[in-house]
């Protein structure tokens, strides 16, 4: 009986199956096979035996990473860059959304929105290229202006002290507008009656922002904050990689760029997989911890 029912369902839905199969196949091949291949982190890589055929080494490669002289530096750099990115980059779109939401004239608001979303569409390469040409102390306009107001000959793109500020501020410049969309969406869902009654009570617009707008954003803020904490050790690879040079490397080498160097450049596949997996696990622990804290404190959680 059951199999007959299933057959009937299959006959009814075979077109749906045909439509979803390509997507399922692609995800199984390109997402799930590499997940199965994570065991490489616990094995030697044996070219002749493929991804999972090498000898089992247990936690050997993890031990190697933790004992490595670079371990402390990599962890600090990665953690520091992420932390500053979150501290500076997380509140920025909230503030921006609150400002944009206050604009009453429709045309002006549209113009502002169009403007602030724009940098998001510039490629990382172009962004880093812009930083290089503008900030270069020899030929860049910003470098020149800094010299002329007496800030001296500071190479903003190639010194250890300025790497993080340049990285984080340019990140805010590029993505702050785009990231504000989700907050603007939340603000547009606020019940207009709340504004009316705030007005009746004689609240100024500043007070309205504090007591109506901001509370309306809290659930969104919490969820996005938990998610960003889950990425505390996953600084984006691309921008850091492109901004690296021999002078800022002591602060700019992070786990993801190190995995690239060890794995793709030096072909130490097992070691690089272990480092990558180590990173993922720590991120996941952070995500779970933040979620648990948030559940206790505010009743908001991801699941």
């Amino acid at each position: 009986m059951r199999t007959q029912g299933r057959l009937r369902l299959l006959r009814r839905d075979y077109q749906l199956w045909i439509m979803i199969m390509p997507a399922v196949a692609v995800v199984l091949i390109f997402n799930y096979i590499p997940m199965y291949g994570i065991q490489l982190a616990f094995r030697d890589y044996d070219f002749s035996k493929g991804l999972t055929g090498g000898e089992w080494r247990g936690l050997h490669y993890f031990q190697q990473f933790i004992d490595s002289y670079l371990f402390a530096d990599l962890m600090t750099n990665t953690f520091l860059i992420s932390l500053v990115t979150i501290v500076v980059g997380f509140p920025a779109p909230i503030v921006l959304a609150l400002i944009l939401n206050q604009i009453r004239r429709k045309r002006l608001k549209n113009l502002m929105q169009t403007t602030v979303y724009l940098p998001h569409f510039i490629s990382v390469i172009v962004l880093v290229g812009m930083l290089n040409v503008l900030l270069s102390p020899e030929t860049g306009a910003v470098g020149y202006l800094m010299k002329s107001i007496g800030l001296g000959h500071i190479n903003l793109i190639a010194s250890t002290g300025t790497f993080i500020p340049v990285y984080v501020l340019s990140d805010v410049w590029q993505h702050c507008g785009w990231n504000s969309i989700i907050y603007l969406a939340a603000l547009s869902a606020v019940d207009p009656q709340l504004y009316d009654s705030a007005k009746m009570d004689g609240a100024s617009r500043w007070q309205t922002i504090r007591h109506v707008d901001l509370p309306a954003l809290v659930p969104t803020i919490i969820v996005l904050f938990i998610l960003s904490m889950g990425g505390i050790l996953s600084t984006g690879f691309e921008k850091i990689f492109l901004m690296q040079n021999s002078l800022n490397l002591p602060v700019s080498e992070v786990i993801s760029t190190y995995v690239y160097r060890i794995g793709i450049i030096s072909n130490q596949f097992s070691y690089a997989s272990a480092i990558g997996l180590f990173n993922t696990v720590i991120n996941f622990v952070f995500l779970l911890a933040m979620n648990a804290i948030s559940k206790r404190v505010s009743d908001t959680s991801l699941y």
Binding site: G50, L108, I182, G202, T280
Partner: protein, 300 residues
Amino acid sequence: MSNVTLKRADGRELAFRIVLGAACALIFLLIVYPLYFIVIASFSDSTLVSTGKVLLFPRGVSLFGYKEIFGDGRIWTGYRNTVFYTLFGTLVNMLFTMPAAYVLSRKEFKARRPIMLLFVVTMFFNGGLIPTYLLMKDLHLTNTFWVFILPFCVNVFYLIIARTFFENSLPPELYEAAVMDGCTHFAFFAKVALPLSKALISVIGLYYLVGHWNDFFTALIYIRDNKLQPLQMVLRDILLSNQVFQNGAGTGGAAGGYAQRYADQIKYGVIIVSSLPILVLYPFLQRYFEKGVMIGAVKG
């Protein structure tokens, strides 16, 4: 008494408006000025640019940078490759994503929850760079254009946006009526669902398009062959690795000095040339962005 409070309120409102206006002006300038500066610097004399003399208007106008850029074979190869990867890639993205999203929006499809889970898991877990790289090698996808097209052609976030859109925009009665007329899922999808989702197709198509256009990671990891390099990798050579231009300093001597003098103009120009297609598309499509995020936000 009430007159006084009213005045005070007016004063506060005025102050608020001034602060708001100033904040908006500041934000606007912070974003627009660097972009404007790149544009004017791309056809100004590099020496004037680097000594801070070009601030509001171009000075010492010359099109040398652009001439060099358009005379460089690498740029054209990169452009051609990127246009191909972008168009073909986006087409494949849509062909894989849209039907899947439609299926996942059908309530009567029994496997919809497990399959959805299969997709969602990949948002949080992945095999990491090295196992993925080795897989591509085993499949002989490295150093072929397919690596830009096929792997990861379904973005789960966009899939969810599209599924939610179909769920909200196709009332069940519509499908029931169509079935009465002997309509199959294929026909319903092609003749009813897709024509009703032009806004959705524009949004997701644009997201995919920009993703392909700006992608350099794929090429960095999987492509060694110069003939297959996309525009972004060519840009990286010119902008970041400080490689001097093909028919510039490589020939030495005087030509070297010449190229050096204009090297920055070339860099500014190349930024414009590579971003132009996106910047041209942008004003026409930006009104859809918010809609896209909102559709997705309804049910993350």
